[in-house]
């Protein structure tokens, strides 16, 4: 019963959205749908949070290996949730001094701001910076001239790497900028790679993706593909 209804909902919602792209009175529907989605996603957080709590509580109660870390997760979760929800340490906005909860949740000096600045930002920025190491080890392993394709990958990366620093300027800076050979300077070569090859390659990929998305969307709207709702085949 729900499944049948779901297929109808998908069809109607999909067709309405396509139509809203072409008929004036319905033009804003896409934005409305996006806003509704945001509300749904925010409400769905309850599901995620419940699951997080369930998984870690069960690890703690069964004393699984590493249950102590589950306790850390739960504690961090509960504390952050509490200080954010109750706006601990937030002052009112100057425009509304009589409304204590009017201040921004992450106003400087508040507890939520502290967690954000010193815990969240520092860990996420550090995780991100691990990439500096991973690009090096990936390049060492993967950039080897095993065949034509790998060689092209390698050469393009090499030119761009050099073209974007002082080293490139030093290596090919002797070629006069106004001569016919100026295109061989590293910075110019890397620009050409982007303007010509990468631009063409990206366009081909993007056009292909657009068709892939179009076919996928069509299959979903028409109910041909519905594995996301658990009634695949």
């Amino acid at each position: 019963m729900s499944r049948q209804l779901a297929i109808i909902v998908t069809l109607v919602a999909g067709v309405l959205m396509v139509v809203s792209g072409f008929i004036k009175p319905t033009q804003g529907w896409g934005e409305d749908a996006a806003e509704w989605f945001n509300i749904l996603a925010a409400m769905a957080f309850v599901l995620g949070a419940a699951n997080l709590a369930k998984v870690h509580l069960s690890k703690i109660s069964s004393r699984d290996a590493g249950w102590g870390f589950s306790a850390v997760t739960l504690l961090a979760f509960a504390v952050t949730l509490a200080v954010g929800l109750f706006k601990v340490g937030v002052n009112p906005m100057p425009a509304f001094p009589d409304v204590p909860m009017s201040g921004g949740k992450d106003a400087e000096g508040s507890a939520f701001w502290w967690v954000y600045t010193y815990v969240l930002s520092s860990i996420t920025a550090t995780m991100f910076s691990l990439l500096a190491f991973y690009v090096a080890s990936a390049a060492f392993r993967a950039f080897r001239a095993k065949n034509t394709e790998a060689t092209l990958l390698l050469v393009a990366a090499f030119i761009v790497l050099l073209g974007r620093t002082f080293a490139g300027v030093v290596l090919t800076g002797w070629i006069p900028a106004d001569s016919d050979w100026a295109f061989l300077r590293f910075e110019n070569l890397s620009t050409t790679i982007f303007e010509v090859f990468a631009s063409a390659g990206n366009r081909a990929i993007i056009i292909g993706i657009a068709l892939g998305v179009a076919a996928t969307s069509l299959k979903i709207i028409l109910g041909i593909d519905r594995s996301y709702m658990g009634s695949g085949d």
Binding site: A42, M43, F77, P97, V99, W114, T126, A157, I205
Partner: protein
């Protein structure tokens, strides 16, 4: 076992060094703040959206009946030293315990994450457990205050929301919001097994709208736009500027630009051929597809090279945090005092590079 001992020694040594660093000279990782006091008192009323609301004006701190609070804003340690020199024992600028602890926490968590590069270990596990809990809650809170409060509650019970949480919000009912609210409640039915089946309805709604919207937008902004920008004559005139034509018209065929245009065209077409699924990559199709994959490889290589730059900058920023904000080893932004002696010693050690102002 031996390795464990080595690591213990290294960690203890690091702790001792940190202790020495903390208690000698100016110390390290201190954050100073300056207090700012606010005071407001009601002064009549003003009209907002047809209703009368109390109006406030700023008054001097300490005024009777005023609503007051104090905020702290960070100042560089230099400002603290200057204030102390001017009037010893002043209280306007002072050490912030919570922020100093914050810098330590941030620095340690940073190092914990980096320790993963060596191998998985309890310190990394601790940082990982922390970030999972903190960030899940963070995004929940963002969703609550930035989406649910103004868009959902603000539309259903605007009077309560404006009176208690978001006084700036316009008091306006919007009962359309009951639709996503109902869908949201259906979604939450998953928590109860007996009614869990209805939760596919909101999923169907989301997937349906997404498909409809993306079907149109991808064909428009990706398929057509990219095809249109490739559809250009292969012969390209030199730009008027380069050839110096006074009337702004083209006056020369540019060989270089024409070759570029032709190469782009070849790349796009051969790339498209590569993506054919129902034709075997043999013969002429196979050869064209091969050219297509070459273009793709150059694209990937170039993008990889370009990205390296950003990734190194991120690591550099973390290093600066450790060396500057935490350890107080370097002071590139002159937040404190530059250690003249250190500069002199480094200058003596390094050869002077041409064009590099060492």
């Amino acid at each position: 076992m031996n390795q464990k001992k080595t690591w213990t020694i290294i960690l203890v040594l690091a702790a001792v060094l940190l202790a020495i660093r903390s208690f000698t000279g100016p110390g390290m990782a201190k954050v100073f703040v300056e207090d700012q006091r606010f005071a407001f008192k009601q002064a009549g009323e003003k009209e907002v959206d047809g209703a009368m609301k109390p109006a406030f004006e700023a008054v001097a701190p300490g005024t009777e009946g005023a609503i007051e609070w104090t905020t702290e804003s960070e100042v560089p340690p230099r400002a603290y030293y200057a204030a102390e020199a001017a009037s010893p024992g002043q209280s306007a600028i002072h050490l912030s315990t919570s922020r100093t602890i914050g810098v330590w926490v941030a620095a340690l968590l940073t190092l914990f994450i980096f320790s993963f590069l060596y191998r998985d270990n309890p310190l990394y596990k601790f940082a990982e457990a922390t970030i999972v809990g903190v960030s899940a809650a963070y995004w929940g809170i963002v969703g609550f205050w930035d989406t649910l409060m103004p868009k959902l509650f603000g539309a259903i019970v605007p009077a309560i929301v404006t009176a208690n949480f978001m006084p700036g919000l316009k008091e306006e009912y919007n009962f359309w919001i009951l639709v996503p609210a109902a869908l949201g409640i259906m979604l939450l039915c998953r928590l109860n097994r007996s009614v869990a089946a209805v939760s596919v309805i909101p999923l169907a709604f989301i997937v349906g709208t997404t498909s409809g919207l993306k079907f149109v937008s991808y064909v428009e902004s990706d398929l057509l736009a990219q095809t249109a920008s490739t559809m250009k004559p292969l012969l390209v005139a030199a730009p008027a500027l380069a050839t110096g034509a006074a009337d702004g018209t083209a006056n020369g065929l540019s060989l270089g630009l024409s070759i570029k245009q032709a190469l782009i065209f070849v790349g796009v077409v051969s790339g498209l051929v590569y993506f054919f699924f129902s034709v075997e990559h043999k013969g002429i199709v196979g050869k064209t597809a091969r050219v297509g994959i070459w273009y793709l490889m150059i694209t990937f290589g170039a993008a990889f090279g370009f990205t390296v730059m950003g990734r190194i900058a991120l690591f550099a920023a973390r290093c600066e945090f450790i060396f500057d904000d935490w350890l107080w080893l370097i002071d590139p932004t002159e937040k404190r005092v530059v250690v003249e002696a250190a500069v002199a010693s480094v200058n003596a050690l390094l050869p002077v590079l041409p064009g590099v102002g060492l």
